[in-house]
Each structure stands twice: as C-alpha cells, then as structure tokens.
Amino acid sequence: MSSTNNRKKLLLMGRSGSGKSSMRSIIFSNYSAFDTRRLGATIDVEHSHLRFLGNMTLNLWDCGGQDVFMENYFSKQKDHIFQMVQVLIHVFDVESQEVIKDIEIFMRSLKQLKKYSPDAKIFVLLHKMDLVQLDKRDELFQIMMNKLSEASTEYGFPNLVGFPTSIWDESLYRAWSQIVCSLIPNMSTYETNLIKFKEMLNAYEIILFEKMTFLVICSSNGNLQINNDTNSNTINNKDEKKKSNIVAIDPKRFEKISNIMKNFKQSCTKLKSDFKTFVLNDSIYVSEISPNMVCFIVLNDTRQSQQLVLENVSKASQYFQ
C-alpha cells in the first residue's frame, strides 16, 4: 500500500524544442547547461524512475513534443497517459512563434486531466527566459500567466502556479524545488524538527536539501513557497533589535545555494568522490544529515567548536530519516 503511495507520476509536457529533456537532464542527471546541446528529440514518451529522499519514487514521463506524438497522446493513448497523474508540468518556450497553438495544447491536456485525474497539480514553466531582455521579463511573465490561469480555471484547476525559468541560471532549481516539495507527504514533520534543531544550535538559518539533486526541501525560516513574503518574516525577529542596518539577505539564496553546491559536487567527481562536509569561516556548515539529505547551517555564533556542531548534526540525523 505504502509503496503505491510513494509512487508519483509526473507528466512533463510542452511543444517540441521547448527544453523539457534539458531540464530533466540538468536536475536529475547532473548535466551542465552546456551538455544539453547534445540532446536530441525525445521519441514518444521517455520514462525515468527517480528515487527521491529514499522511499519516494518519481516516475517522470518526459513526453516528446512533436505534433505527431502530441496527437497520439490526446487520442489513442489518452487514458494511458493521463491516468493517475499527480503533477503536470507544462513547459512553454518564451520564444515560440505559435503561442496560440501552445496554449491550445495546454488546454487540451487540462481537459484530459480533468477527466482522468482531477486532483492533479498543475505547474507551468515559462522557459528560456534568458532570451528575453531583463526589463521585459516580468511583464511578459505576467501577461502569459494571466492568460494561462484564465485557461486553467476554466477547466477546474483554479490555482495555477507558474515560474519563469532558464537553464542558464538558478531559476530552474527554484521551480523544481517547489514542484517536488509539493509531493513530499511529511513536510510538516521536517519543518518542526528543523525549527527545533535551529533553536538548539542557535543558528541563523538551516536549509535542508535533497542529496542527489540538491533541490531545497525546506528551510528553518518558514517555508519557501512565497519567497518575498517569507523573507520579510524570517529576518523580522532579528531586525527588531536593530532596525538601522536592515540589509535583507538575498531572497534567491536557496536556488543559488543549490546551484553552487551542485557545481561543487560536480567538480568533486573529478577527484572521484562525493563531498561529505564543508565548513566556511566556522559559520557556514554543509553536511550530510541522512543518507538522502544534506543540511546547510548558518550559525549566529562562530565560536562554537567544529566538533560540537558536527556532533549535533549527526545526533539530529535520526529525526530526519
């Protein structure tokens, strides 16, 4: 029973050339953004079974986006494809010439989902954002999101979540962290444990990452769903003391850490190994906390001894199994 519960079906859809397989390869197969140039067209559906956090299996269905296959999904294979779907991730190429057609396909898949798995969560990614000028990105994203949420409400999926993404920066990690987090069942346990742990260590912040993909699972300073809001919340208790020097820390830090650490992991493979711990200036600690998780600790007090902190981490690990 529990094994079926832990199997999650994710559909990755979108028109051909929009970057679906590239994303998958970067997040789950340790490709660098450069390497994705080699990827060819996906034929029909490519299944991958990814183990996440030990007991969770993500069945990622990477659906080839050429029209031939697309027609097939909506006619012959529709019950096969759209049954038991937990998550639909629809990718839009911002540079696409046929936006109307893109949206039409999105609506067609929503229609099938409504029939076969009405509880599915829908995420849309506006991909290849790096090709748009910086000052126009927000505007474009807003216009597109308005259109898409209109479409999705029509089919009974009212709260659509969308992200602007690009494989060339950390936005990809942000999007996928939140997609994957929405599937973790015992999130609240992790959160409460993490907050306790934070208090015990007198830490400034602790972030929990999945080990293989380095996606953010949760952070001690509130959840990361709505980045701007949490950020003001998190530093509040600290800032009350000294309102004078409010230098808000980077709201994109989660994604950036994912990106940095993943690069580091990559470079460690050149020494034929994986990294175990990382300590910077006695204040930032990165260490394994369970076989599937890595914790990132930022301390308030740099005078704690290294052994003490690492010992605490290993003691805490039993609560994060």
Binding site: N263, F264, S267, K270, F278, D282, T302
Partner: protein, 341 residues
C-alpha cells in the same frame, strides 16, 4: 631608468592577428566575464592597458591586431623595451600561416630590442578541435614557427606553446605559467610551498589569486589539470557562499561583545571540505588577494590532527609570505631610489 620600470612592474603584451581572441582572453581571465558573453565584444581599436595586482603589480597591454607596428611613426622600440612577456595568440581554427609569419617578424624585432623577453604562444580556440587534431595543430605550428625562426637566424630563442580555450580552465593554466615567469621571488615561494607540503599531509598546494583564479605559485610536484580545476572551483564555491551571507557576517561583530577579535576573524576567509574518500580540500586567505588552496590526503591518519598541523604550518607559511613581501617591497623602493640618484 628603464630597468627600474622593468623590475617594479611586470608587463604582459598581448598580441595577435585580428579576431584571434585577445580581448576575450583579457575579459575572461581578469574581469570574470562569462565565456559566452565574449561573442559580442567589439573589436579593439586602441592599445589598452589594464592593471592587476596579484602578488606583483601586473599590467596587461592589449594591442589591436590590425595595426602595423613597424611603421616608423610608431614607437615600437619603447614598447618592447619595457615588457616582461610577449604573449602571441594564434587562432587555431583559422588559417594560421599568416599568423606565424607575423609572429616570426615580431619575435625578430622584440628579441633585438629586449633579449630578456619571454615569448609565449597561445594556440587558441582549441575547444572546437578534436583531441587528435589538437596535437597535430600544435606540432604543425611549433614546427613552422621553428622553421621561420631558423630562417631569420634566431633558432636559439625560447618559445613556449600552450593549447588554450576560454571555455575551460586551460587559459587560466597558461596564464598562471606566464605570470609565474614574471615573479622574481618565485623560487622562494616554491621552496616555501614544498616545505609546507612536506610537513603536512598535503598532496598539492596552490597559491591562488582570488579574483582571476590564476595560480601565482605551486609546489614542485607536477600539476594535474583536474586537481587545478577542482581547486579553482573550490575558490568559486567559497566566495559565492560567503557573499550570500555576507550581510549577516557584517552584522555579527556589533552583536558580540569582544568586538575587535571577532571582526578580525571575520575578515579572513577559510574553508575546509571533506570528501567521501577522505580527501580534504583546504582554503585559507593569504595576503594581497591571494589564497592558499591545498589538497590533503590523510591516508588513514586522524583528520583533526591533520587539520591542526596544517593550520599551524599554513600560519607559518603566511608569516613567511608577509616577510618575503615586505622584504621585496623595500628592496624595490631602495632600488628605485638608487636609480633616481
């Protein structure tokens, strides 16, 4: 007078035919530009000089490729007199016969004006070549250059060749070697590093310039490019993570009671990472934007002991570095003053 300039400041002259990638190299190595962004660089029309201070004050002069330096109006004699190294860039994806003729001409002139000049040739843009072809191109270019020099009667001139590309670490490696030739204290540094690694469990130690990630010095063991890459990337990781929480670090000293002490500790970067197979990567900030990065293999010994010994030895090394630097600085100013008189 010219001699003083020579010794107090090392100058690298960057030359090559047009579109061979001189500006891109400059931007990528010294300005941290992304390699992809260099596709849109404009063509350089004026000689430009840029200054960087690593252990020594280094200036890099870039000459536009389309100029003819042997027009009598151009003061090329003074130009070649004052430089320490001539870096000539050859585009390996283009016809390079012209470039070689041009190079031979420049070497002939430069060598006549300044026999002490070190001549470095970058066989550039090798990222687009296959492995076999790289070796062929290098051999071909070396041979042809040799022939040209022989014809001019200059077969004794030392020319070093490097295969480089801005899309990997080879350009940093090449520049590291070039810069190292310009540092007068290099042999002491190398000895000090050798000493350091002999007395700790260090396998390989680099002295990095944090901004450009070229290494100013390393111990006398051969450099494995992969180890170099790991160390350079470790500098990146450390700096990036440090910058993310920098604001929080600044807040700290005002909070803690013993103000001065913690402030002192904060300013210095230090990071240690342990890998699954027991290898430890160690970084510690030194003087003048330098950082020591070392690869430690405890080989079964206790890791904490290892680190403690390393810490102690690295501190000693740093003291040595400060002393060496102070000494050479006074010597230089002394030298300079003597020459003025």
């Amino acid at each position: 007078m010219e001699q003083t300039e020579d010794s107090s400041k090392a100058t690298i002259l960057l030359m090559g035919l047009r579109r061979c990638g001189k500006s891109s190299i400059c931007k990528v190595v010294f300005h941290n530009m992304q390699p992809l962004d260099t596709l849109y660089l404009e063509s350089t029309s004026n000689p430009s000089v840029e200054h960087f201070s690593t252990l020594i004050d280094l200036s890099v002069m870039e000459l536009p490729g389309q100029l003819n330096y042997f027009e009598p109006s151009y003061d090329s004699e003074r130009l070649f007199k004052n430089i320490g190294a001539l870096v000539y860039v050859i585009d390996s994806q283009d016809e390079y016969m012209n470039a070689i003729t041009n190079l031979a001409m420049i070497i002939e002139y430069a060598h006549k004006v300044n026999p002490k000049i070190s001549i470095e040739v970058l066989i550039h843009k090798v990222d687009g070549l296959s492995e076999d072809f790289k070796v062929d191109a290098q051999r071909d270019i070396m041979q042809r250059t040799g022939e040209e020099l022989l014809e001019l009667g200059l077969d004794g001139v030392q020319v070093s060749f490097y295969l480089t590309s801005i899309f990997d670490h080879s350009i940093y490696e090449a520049f590291s070697r070039i810069v190292q030739k310009l540092i007068p204290e290099i042999s002491y540094l190398e000895n000090m590093l050798d000493n350091l690694i002999q007395h700790s469990k260090i396998e390989k130690a680099f002295l990095f310039d944090i901004n450009s990630k070229i290494y100013v010095s390393t111990d006398s063991n051969p450099v494995d490019i992969q180890v170099y890459e790991v160390c350079a990337e470790f500098v990146d990781v450390t700096i990036d993570l440090f910058n993310l929480y920098k604001t929080q670090e600044i807040e700290l000293p005002s909070e803690t009671n013993d103000n001065k002490r913690s402030q002192k500790r904060q300013r210095e970067l230090k990071s240690v990472s342990e890998l699954g197979n027991g290898v430890i990567i160690y970084l510690k900030q030194m003087i003048r934007g330098l950082a020591l990065v070392a690869l430690i293999r405890p080989n079964g010994a206790d890791i904490d002991n290892c680190l403690t010994i390393t810490d102690y030895n690295v501190d000693t090394f740093k003291k040595g570095l400060i002393e060496l630097w102070a000494n050479s600085a006074t010597k230089k100013s002394q030298y300079f003053q003597d020459n003025i008189k």
